[in-house]
Assembly symmetry: C2
């Protein structure tokens, strides 16, 4: 099915949507596709919160750094790692599951389960002619997000996804060279080769920006990423996660 | 594209493959699709290690609990959270990125990036008529996996994915009720409703097993999951992750 590979390869984030809401049926299809993704040992350690309330969307947009497309879209989904359900299950079945659900291992399972589900949702939406944008910006202030969405302990909102009818058609961003992401049989870290890939990629990314901004921007990738990572952000995360009883042991 | 939604909804893990390797071209398409997934702030914090070496596959199968399909498949991909590249970038650009890449926030980014990429790989493979199975079992012993695949610090192998030509046709496993996974505007934890969903689902899962095992198995979902979680596994994970210089602060 060549079409599907083309669909996957043509992904780009959409940050401007028409003023048209998704129908409940569209939402149901997207969530059902999310649920069809694999889940570690069948635990299904995630939840999805759909936001219809305009005030809540506005508040989430503020938290995410005032990006308008967080409020103005066809629908906003918030994907959460969720082990609250498993606490309830433990009580229901009279089993002590506390150590297990507070472990780093199960925290990882929650993150991976939620991310697999979200990517299925993204593909489902795109295959229906919709556009999507992941919004990690809600992690700027998870304490506020938690209050707003009333998530209990052991539920961590990870990111949102804006979905809607595209009102722009941005270009596809070039990715790291295949040989750099993909290793065979072992992780190749011969530093010369490794750094050569990065230099080649820097030139590609720089040309990409230059063309699209009439020469105003020409950042290299490593420059952009190093500057971003030098700036320490969301350093409250560890405390927030453990306060919410995950990633403790 | 109705076909794509059908493809997503019909996913089930394949645990028995024909003895036929993927071509390099198939591998390249699958990895390219993985790379097309979204990445948090364009950081691309993951790597993929493809395993061709039969001895390594055998060893990984042992680590994963002697599941034969880890060794016998068309190709085996190992997905890793990867911030090693970002350490190199920091040095290259003369920026101190250490605190940032050792943060829980960036650990989460690595996990999410890797999982989004892997799910695109899964969909690409399935759309090409191949079957897939995620293998979390490599997390049974990441110290051994690290040695085998020579991953440096700041690279965490998360899971593998066996891909190949299906030699079985298992049924689709029923997922949690839509209303249980999907919340609107806030996380609904009225416990009566919440527990009602679980009870309903238990009956569905129990019937699923009963039918497929001629009555030999009829576990309820909550029973199965509580028993699994009571059993503490992979409790070395926190120590391993921090020893590999991630999720520290």
């Amino acid at each position: 099915m060549e079409n599907m590979v083309s669909l996957l390869l043509s992904h780009r984030s959409i940050r401007k949507f028409e003023d048209k809401s998704l129908t409940d049926e569209q939402i149901k299809i997207i969530v059902s596709c999310a649920q069809s993704a694999s889940s570690s040992s069948f635990v299904q350690a995630y939840s999805i919160i759909g936001i219809k309330d305009k005030q809540k969307k506005k508040k989430l947009a503020e938290i995410a750094g005032n990006q308008p497309y967080v409020a103005d879209n066809g629908h906003l989904f918030v994907f959460c790692a969720d082990l609250y359900r498993h606490e309830v299950i433990g009580r229901k079945e009279g089993k002590d599951v506390t150590s297990s659900i507070e472990s780093t291992e199960k925290f990882m399972v929650g993150l991976i389960d939620a991310a697999l589900a979200s990517q299925n949702a993204a593909i489902a939406a795109e295959s229906m002619g919709l556009g999507i944008c992941y919004i990690g910006g809600i992690r700027n202030n998870l304490e506020e997000v938690k209050k707003l969405l009333k998530t209990p302990d052991r539920v961590i909102p990870l990111f949102a996804m804006a979905v809607g009818y595209p009102n722009q058609s941005p270009d596809i961003k070039p990715r790291l060279p295949f040989e750099h992401i993909y290793h065979e049989d072992e992780y190749e870290q011969q530093n010369e080769e490794f750094e050569k890939h990065l230099t080649e990629y820097d030139a590609i990314v720089s040309a990409y920006y230059e063309e699209r901004t009439s020469g105003k921007r020409r950042d290299r990738w490593t420059e952009q990423i190093a500057a971003m990572l030098e700036n320490q952000t969301r350093m409250y995360m560890k405390e927030f996660i453990t306060k919410n009883k995950m990633d403790i042991r």
